[in-house]
C-alpha cells in the first residue's frame, strides 16, 4: 500500500520567541522541506503615516522615534528630518552634521549588536548575546549622556541637534572605539570559527543577486548578495561624503555572508566615528527654525542608510505646518518580502537561521 503524503501547513508565531516581534509565518511544508513561506504581518501596525499628518514637523520627530524601527531610533529621525530639511531648504550647521554622523554610527553599532546577540540566541549561542549586550550597554550610556534617552532619543531637530556633547564625552567615546575591536574579535572567536555555527549558516538561505534586486532587498541583505550599494556612498548625506569608509560586499548571498557584512560594517562604523570625532568642527549646533515651521509646497524623497537598509521618506507638503502625506519606505518591509524567496527549498530548521539573518524589526515592517 503506497504511503499517503500531503503538505503540512505550519503556523509560526505570532507569539514565537524567534520571530523578533509579532510576526506570523505560515510555512507550507513537504516533509521537512519548505515549499512556501507566507509572512502575515500587520500585528504592530500603528498607522504612523496617518498620525504624522496630524502633527507638526517638530512633534513628528518624537513620533518616528517610536512608531518605526525602535532598535535604531536615531536612524528614523535622520531619515525623516533629511526629508524635512531638503524640502524646507533648512540649513544644518557643520557641527550638527558631524554630531549626527557620530550618533548615527553609534546607533548602527548598537543595532547590529542587538541583531548579533539575538541571532546568536536563535542559533543556540547564548554567550554571544550576553557579550553583545555588555558592549551595547556602554553605547547606550554614551547615548544617555548626550541625548538623555537610551532607546528613544528625540535628539535631532529640524536644522540641527538639540544639545551639544557634554564635556569629556569624546574621550569616553574614543575609549570605547579603542576597546571595541577586541570585543569584535571575541565575537569572531565565538562564532566565525565555530563548526556548528558554520554548519547552520554557510550556504543556507541563498539570495542570488538578480533576485535580490527584483525582490527589492536592501541594506546588508543586498550587500551580502553582491549588490555594491550603500546610500551613504551613493547619495551622501550629513558628513558621510567627507569621511573614508568601505562598503563590505560579499557574493555568496547566504546567512554567513550577511553575518560577515554586518561584522565588517561595525568595524567601518568605528572608523567613521574616529574620523568624525577628530574632524568635529566647533560652532553652532542648530540653525534657527520655528517650533511650528511651515514647509513650502512640494514633494521630496530622502534616502538614508539605516542599520537595516535603505530607509526612504517620501514627504509631500501642502504648505501647512503639518505634512500632507508621509510615506515611509521601511527597509525591513522589503527585506521581509525577499525572505519568501530566500526560504524556498530549505529545511524547516533553517527558518530561524534565515529569518534571524535578515534582521527585521516588526515595528519597522508594520509602521
Amino acid at each position: 500500500m503506497p504511503l499517503r503524503t500531503e503538505q503540512l501547513m505550519l503556523n509560526m508565531g505570532p507569539q514565537h520567541p524567534s520571530t523578533h516581534g509579532v510576526l506570523r509565518l505560515v510555512v507550507t511544508l513537504d516533509g521537512e522541506n519548505i515549499v512556501e513561506v507566507q509572512p502575515d504581518i500587520g500585528y504592530l501596525h500603528s498607522s504612523v503615516e496617518k498620525m504624522m499628518e496630524y502633527r507638526t514637523y517638530l512633534m513628528n520627530v518624537a513620533l518616528v522615534d517610536r512608531g518605526m524601527d525602535y532598535i535604531a531610533a536615531l536612524a528614523n529621525e535622520e531619515g525623516y528630518l533629511l526629508a524635512v530639511e531638503r524640502l524646507g531648504g533648512i540649513d544644518v550647521p557643520a557641527r550638527a552634521r558631524w554630531l549626527r554622523t557620530i550618533m548615527l554610527e553609534f546607533q548602527r553599532l548598537s543595532s547590529h549588536l542587538v541583531w548579533l546577540g539575538t541571532w546568536g540566541i536563535d542559533l543556540g549561542a547564548t554567550t554571544v548575546f550576553l557579550y553583545c549586550f555588555r558592549e551595547r550597554e556602554v553605547i547606550l550610556d554614551l547615548f544617555e549622556q548626550v541625548t538623555g534617552g537610551r532607546l528613544h532619543h528625540v535628539y535631532f531637530r529640524p536644522g540641527g541637534v538639540y544639545e551639544d556633547l557634554p564635556p569629556g564625552w569624546t574621550d569616553r567615546a574614543l575609549a570605547f572605539c579603542d576597546e571595541f575591536p577586541g570585543h569584535l574579535q571575541e565575537y569572531h572567536d565565538l562564532l566565525t570559527g565555530n563548526p556548528i555555527f558554520l554548519a547552520r549558516t554557510q550556504g543556507v538561505g541563498v539570495l542570488p543577486k538578480d533576485a535580490a534586486i527584483t525582490m527589492g532587498a536592501c541594506g546588508p541583505v543586498a550587500r551580502a548578495s553582491g549588490i555594491n550599494f550603500d546610500v551613504r556612498k551613493a547619495f551622501p548625506y550629513e558628513a558621510y561624503g567627507e569621511v573614508e569608509f568601505d562598503i563590505p560586499t560579499f557574493e555568496q548571498g547566504d546567512c554567513f555572508a550577511r553575518y560577515l557584512v554586518r561584522m565588517e560594517e561595525m568595524r567601518q562604523s568605528l572608523r567613521i566615528i574616529r574620523q568624525a570625532i577628530e574632524k568635529l568642527p566647533p560652532g553652532e549646533i542648530r540653525s534657527k527654525v520655528q517650533v511650528t515651521v511651515k514647509l513650502p509646497k512640494g514633494e521630496v524623497y530622502a534616502r538614508t542608510e539605516s542599520p537595516r537598509g535603505d530607509l526612504g521618506v517620501y514627504l509631500v507638503s501642502s504648505g501647512d505646518d503639518m505634512p500632507y502625506r508621509v510615506k515611509i519606505r521601511a527597509p525591513s518591509f522589503s527585506n521581509l518580502y525577499a525572505l519568501t524567496e530566500m526560504m524556498r527549498g530549505w529545511k524547516v530548521a533553517d527558518v530561524i537561521a534565515i529569518l534571524g539573518s535578515v534582521d527585521i524589526v516588526l515595528s519597522d515592517v508594520d509602521r
Partner: protein, 158 residues
C-alpha cells in the same frame, strides 16, 4: 581521511577559541548591577519624570501659563487650566498623564522659563493606572505616587 582530519582540527580550534573567550570572562570584573538593591546613576540629561520646580525666591513654580508645552506635546498628555486675566493669572490645574507621556522632552525644550524640567527619577511604575495622572502637587514634589515595589529599600523617596 584527510578531510576528516581537517574537520576535526577545525572543530578543535573553533572550540578552543570560543572556550578561551568564555573562560577569560570568568576573571573579568562583573558588569551586572543587582538592580532593586543597587541603583544605577543616570546622566544629568536623563529623561526621567517631569516636574515643576519651585522657585526658592517666590515659593511658587515658574510657569507663566503660555500653553507652549501643551501645544507641542505629541501625545497631548499635558492639560493646563488657569484663572484670572493678564498678570494675575493663576495656575489652577497642570495635569500630565504620565501613562501617555513619551518622554520626548519637547515640552522642556519649548518652555521659556524652564518651569517644566526632567528629574533623574526612573521608577515611576505603579500598581494602578490612575496613579499615573500627575497633578500640580505631584509635579511640584516630583516623585512617583507609589513606590515601585513594596518591601524594597527606597532610596531618596519622599
Amino acid at each position: 581521511m584527510l578531510d576528516l582530519a581537517t574537520r576535526a582540527w577545525e572543530a578543535v580550534t573553533g572550540l578552543y577559541l570560543g572556550l578561551r573567550v568564555t573562560i577569560l570572562a570568568l576573571v573579568r570584573p562583573k558588569n551586572t548591577v543587582k538592580y532593586p538593591i543597587e541603583k544605577v546613576n543616570v546622566s544629568p540629561r536623563w529623561h526621567g519624570l517631569l516636574a515643576l520646580p519651585i522657585d526658592p525666591e517666590t515659593g511658587s513654580d515658574m510657569c507663566i501659563i503660555c500653553f507652549q508645552c501643551e501645544r507641542v506635546c505629541p501625545d497631548r498628555c499635558i492639560h493646563i487650566e488657569a484663572t484670572g486675566r493678564a498678570k494675575d493669572r493663576v495656575l489652577t490645574r497642570f495635569d500630565i498623564e504620565m501613562d501617555k507621556c513619551c518622554y520626548c522632552g519637547l515640552c522642556v525644550e519649548v518652555c521659556p522659563t524652564e518651569a517644566i524640567v526632567f528629574v533623574p527619577h526612573y521608577e515611576a511604575s505603579t500598581f494602578n493606572r490612575s496613579n499615573l495622572l500627575y497633578d500640580l502637587d505631584d509635579l511640584r514634589r516630583a516623585t512617583p505616587k507609589e513606590p515601585i515595589a513594596h518591601g524594597v529599600v527606597r532610596i531618596g523617596g519622599r
